[in-house]
């Protein structure tokens, strides 16, 4: 195949313990570490492996959001992507708008495969890939843990509630990846230097003829209810007694 498109969203690093601001105006993102959405790193790793096997010509990474997302695109280029596209918006848009933007890029780039994460770990929406597939009128294989290409089709193993589902889809298609698909590579210093010379196109949202859609509006943020630390019991007998007392046994 000629081309694989991969979505890279810039999100708060998964190791950061996110907190709601005390005034309830949002979550604290000042000065916290930002990274590529972990699922997207896996999506990119998979695309790179396909290209390295000789099954794809080039891997294009795309991010939609403010200019800062260039950092994540540069990391993607350092991992091995051939070129990057940043669609500039004031803030990362809602999933439907993202899907419309990706569709426009699909129409321009004509990829055979679009690989996205199964969800962005900031808003936990898990919608963009399915929406892109719907608007594009193409197959979707979500929550994938294995992807095998066989010419004009792909065989995808999906992690579903009841076990592992295998699906065959015609290409082009949208695949969204789960954590067990692969282990993303580390970026090496020389690759970071090389990545600086790779092309990174910046396109303003208006340049695609798309406007922001009506996202659900957030009315309030609150911290989740915290569980209280309970009691430590000295031994099994005390544990059984405590559970009986609470009516659990």
């Amino acid at each position: 195949m000629d081309r694989i498109l991969v979505g890279l969203k810039r999100v708060v690093d998964y190791n950061v313990r996110v907190r709601v601001r005390s005034d309830g105006s949002g979550v604290e993102t000042d000065g916290v570490k930002m990274s590529i959405n972990p699922f997207d790193e896996i999506a990119l790793e998979e695309a790179l492996r396909i290209r390295e096997r000789g099954d794809a010509g080039e891997v294009v990474v795309v991010s939609i959001g403010p200019g800062d997302a260039q950092q994540q695109l540069r990391t993607g280029l350092a991992m091995g992507a051939d070129r990057a596209i940043l669609v500039e918006t004031a803030a990362a848009p809602d999933p439907l708008t993202c899907a419309r933007i990706l569709l426009e890029l699909v129409n321009r780039e004509k990829p055979d495969l679009v690989i996205l994460g199964k969800q962005a770990i900031d808003n936990d929406n898990s919608q963009t890939g399915q929406m892109l597939a719907a608007l594009w009128g193409r197959p979707q294989a979500t929550f994938a843990s294995k992807l095998v290409l066989n010419g004009a089709t792909a065989t995808v193993t999906r992690e579903v509630d009841s076990g592992l589902e295998i699906l065959e889809v015609d290409l082009p298609a949208v695949v969204t990846v789960d954590l067990r698909m692969n282990e993303p590579r580390y970026v090496k210093l020389p690759d970071i230097m090389k990545a600086k010379k790779k092309p990174l196109d910046q396109i303003p949202l208006s340049g695609l003829g798309i406007s922001m859609g009506d996202a659900p509006t957030v009315k309030a943020y609150e911290a989740p209810q915290q569980r209280q630390k309970g009691v430590m019991v000295p031994d099994v007998a005390a544990l059984v007694a405590a559970m009986k007392d609470k009516g659990l046994l």
Partner: protein, 314 residues
Amino acid sequence: MARILVIAEHDGKRLNASTAKCVACASGIEGADIHVAVFAETGETLAAEAAGLAGVSKVIQVDNPANAYPLAAVLAPQVAQLAGAYTHVLGPSTTFGRDLMPRVAALLDVNQITDIMQVLGSHTFKRPIYAGNAIVTVEAAAGKQVVGTVRMASYRSVDSTGKAAIERAVVEAELPGHSRFVSLQAGKSDRPDLQTASRVVSGGRALASAENFAMIFKLADALGAAVGASRAAVDAGFVPNEMQVGQTGKIIAPELYIAVGISGAIQHLTGIKDAGTIVAINKDADAPIFEVADFGLVGDLFKLVPELEKALRT
């Protein structure tokens, strides 16, 4: 008035418990008239089961050989076709609903409200973000249809005292042939289902092998409990992926959760926040799991688990 369409989840034989939970969520919307759509190859018994869900006024049975196995690309155009008459379309936040509903939402030209945990108004909902580290109140676009997935751990199934009418429907939608079901490797088990069990025992990396994990199964058997695992235990191959509990596994709300040899990483805790009582067994007194455990027991699981199993059996 809210006209709500709930998309039933099933395995061809029985409804998944998620359907009764979606109905529970729908019942929280003021003035709700709730219909359930059953897409199947032959949905007779499924429709009858759905008709019994309390609060449902009508079941729409859509039989089609193409619906023998639920493929999002095949179901979505049919749901979108039916959706015209409704203000809300709800599905479960299981892998079935998470796969299907955004595809439906895009066809209806709206964003989806993912993981509804509370209904505040016809267009206003609470949902978790950042793996449950924040809860937001969101308002769906006014004057548009609401498409949402319902967070399973936030709702209790409605009971089966309903008597809804069943209507057969033919849905005229063009169905794609580009996606084909090949197989499903389902972990066969006669144990209680992890997502609906009232008791769950989970094991972590500390079990160290698939053989040792048998200890967790034995303890679960003594309690009539379902078995879960941390991601580390799944990744290490001790148990299959469908047993994973947490942010990227199953989010559960049993009455009793026993975590054995699990450290309590934030991604794991996301999956058990709504449990009634959490019991933790860990050799490290400083393990984060103890911060959320109602009862904590420090010690070597290889000694304590057999002891606990024995105590429960006598």
